[in-house]
């Protein structure tokens, strides 16, 4: 009767109309050079945040800042329109960006990349304050990173701390521990059936991708993420051992993909479809917000990719291939 999502989703749907249309993205991708690309995106809803990016002599740094600003503003706006239980559910959806950021930090620190490079790969969304992420990028090693994030890194920071305390040290161990903790937290945070179904699908896909990654080494059940629906632990071990058969035909293509990159691209498309479905089925739940966040993330990622392609003078064919694999 008194469902707060009626109001929230009305607003989110309107926010969705402010996303850059597919046609405008195609036009941006077909521009002849970087200046033309900037002129093209100045005609999209992104123009409000472009600022210095269109100034004479501005480079990719300014474009990245502008896109990050736009992204951060959208997420902050979404967070501002929900209170109570919906706010908690939207926070749970935003944990996804915390997860991606912590994974980026872990990868960067493990491979010894400079702090500026790590920060450039972070997503300005999620629940962790930006200064905390910037500070964490300065960490010398993973234990000190975990220490920094355990204080101000929210749920994902605590999950990383627990994983490090539990002896996880390799990249795969840490990433899977983060995934396991994240899915536990998110399933505890969202109540809607449709959104939970989306996450169980995401867990299945993640398990498939991990199983494919493990091929060639001894299959180990500790890398399995519980909570999925169609990929059981025994399926996981079987697929990690080299078998390609999956119970769900939708997931078959991921298991059979020629390489991991192709499998990831198929997984992304499958999840895009699942997120669109959840937005349609969950008119009075957090599914609409979930779909909006996913679309916004893709819009920004595509704009960054097209911007780089135009800046470095990539051919249309190369850019199309990059966008396919994006």
């Amino acid at each position: 009767m008194n469902n707060p999502y009626g109001y929230i989703n009305g607003r989110v749907r309107m926010m969705r109309t402010a996303l850059v249309e597919a046609r405008a993205l195609d036009e941006a991708a077909s521009t002849v050079n970087y200046q033309e690309f900037l002129r093209q995106i100045s005609e999209t809803p992104l123009r409000e945040d472009l600022g210095d990016a269109t100034a004479q002599g501005a480079g990719l740094g300014q474009l990245d800042e502008a896109l990050s600003r736009n992204y951060l503003r959208s997420v902050a706006h979404l967070r501002s329109i929900a209170t109570g239980q919906p706010a908690r559910e939207i926070e749970a959806l935003l944990l996804r960006y915390d997860l991606q950021n912590v994974k980026t930090l872990v990868r960067g620190v493990l491979t010894g990349r400079p702090a500026d490079d790590i920060v450039a790969g972070l997503i300005p969304a999620g629940t962790m304050p930006w200064p905390v992420l910037q500070g964490a990028a300065q960490s010398a090693d993973v234990p000190s990173l975990a220490q920094t994030l355990s204080v101000a890194g929210g749920k994902i920071g605590q999950i990383l701390r627990a994983a490090v305390a539990g002896g996880a040290s390799s990249l795969l161990d840490l990433e899977v521990a983060l995934d396991q903790g994240y899915y536990r937290a998110v399933l505890a945070g969202v109540r809607g059936t449709n959104v939970r179904r989306y996450f169980t699908r995401e867990i299945d896909i993640r398990n498939l991708l991990i199983a494919r990654q493990l091929r060639g080494s001894a299959p180990n059940a500790r890398y399995f993420i519980p909570g999925g629906r169609d990929v059981t632990e025994s399926d996981f071990l079987r697929i990690a051992g080299g078998d390609n058969s999956v119970g769900s035909p939708e997931l078959q293509a991921i298991a059979e993909a020629a390489d991991l990159g192709t499998a990831e691209a198929i997984a992304r498309r499958t999840l895009d479809q699942a997120s669109r479905n959840v937005a349609m089925a969950d008119a009075l739940g957090p599914g609409v917000a979930l779909d909006y966040l996913r679309r916004k993330e893709q819009e920004i990622a595509r704009m960054r990719l097209i911007g780089r392609a135009k800046y470095y003078g990539l051919s249309k064919e190369e850019l199309a291939k990059e966008l396919q694999g994006e």
């Binding site: 009767m1 109001y7 009305g10 607003r11």
Partner: protein, 106 residues
């Protein structure tokens, strides 16, 4: 859907009470041998139900539409006119109730 059914169920006690009391009054009037009064009483109940249920239906429909419309107008004030049209469409339910009401009272 389930929420709407649950919300509608909240009105059931009132409707049941109205029907029972109405029947009781009608029976009382019939016991007094006043058939005209019975017909008038039942007509009054019918008119009340026509208008009341129409209003309840309108309210149930306008609640979520109003919430969504408020959300849309908060983001896009220029959509106010379009949202007002959607918001007023369920008013037809209570208008049909009014028609029934006047037909029965006429």
């Amino acid at each position: 859907m389930k929420n709407t059914a649950f919300a509608a169920a909240k009105y059931l006690p009132a409707l049941t009470a109205m029907t029972l009391f109405g029947s009781a009054f009608a029976q009382e009037a019939a016991a007094g041998g006043d058939a005209g009064a019975t017909a008038a009483g039942l007509k009054a109940i019918g008119a009340g139900l026509a208008l009341g249920l129409g209003a309840v239906g309108t309210g149930l429909a306008q609640g979520p539409i109003g919430a969504a419309a408020a959300g849309v107008v908060a983001e896009r004030p220029e959509k106010f006119g379009q949202m007002a049209i959607w918001f007023f469409i369920p008013e037809t339910l209570v208008i049909f109730g009014f028609v029934g009401f006047f037909l029965l009272r006429g």
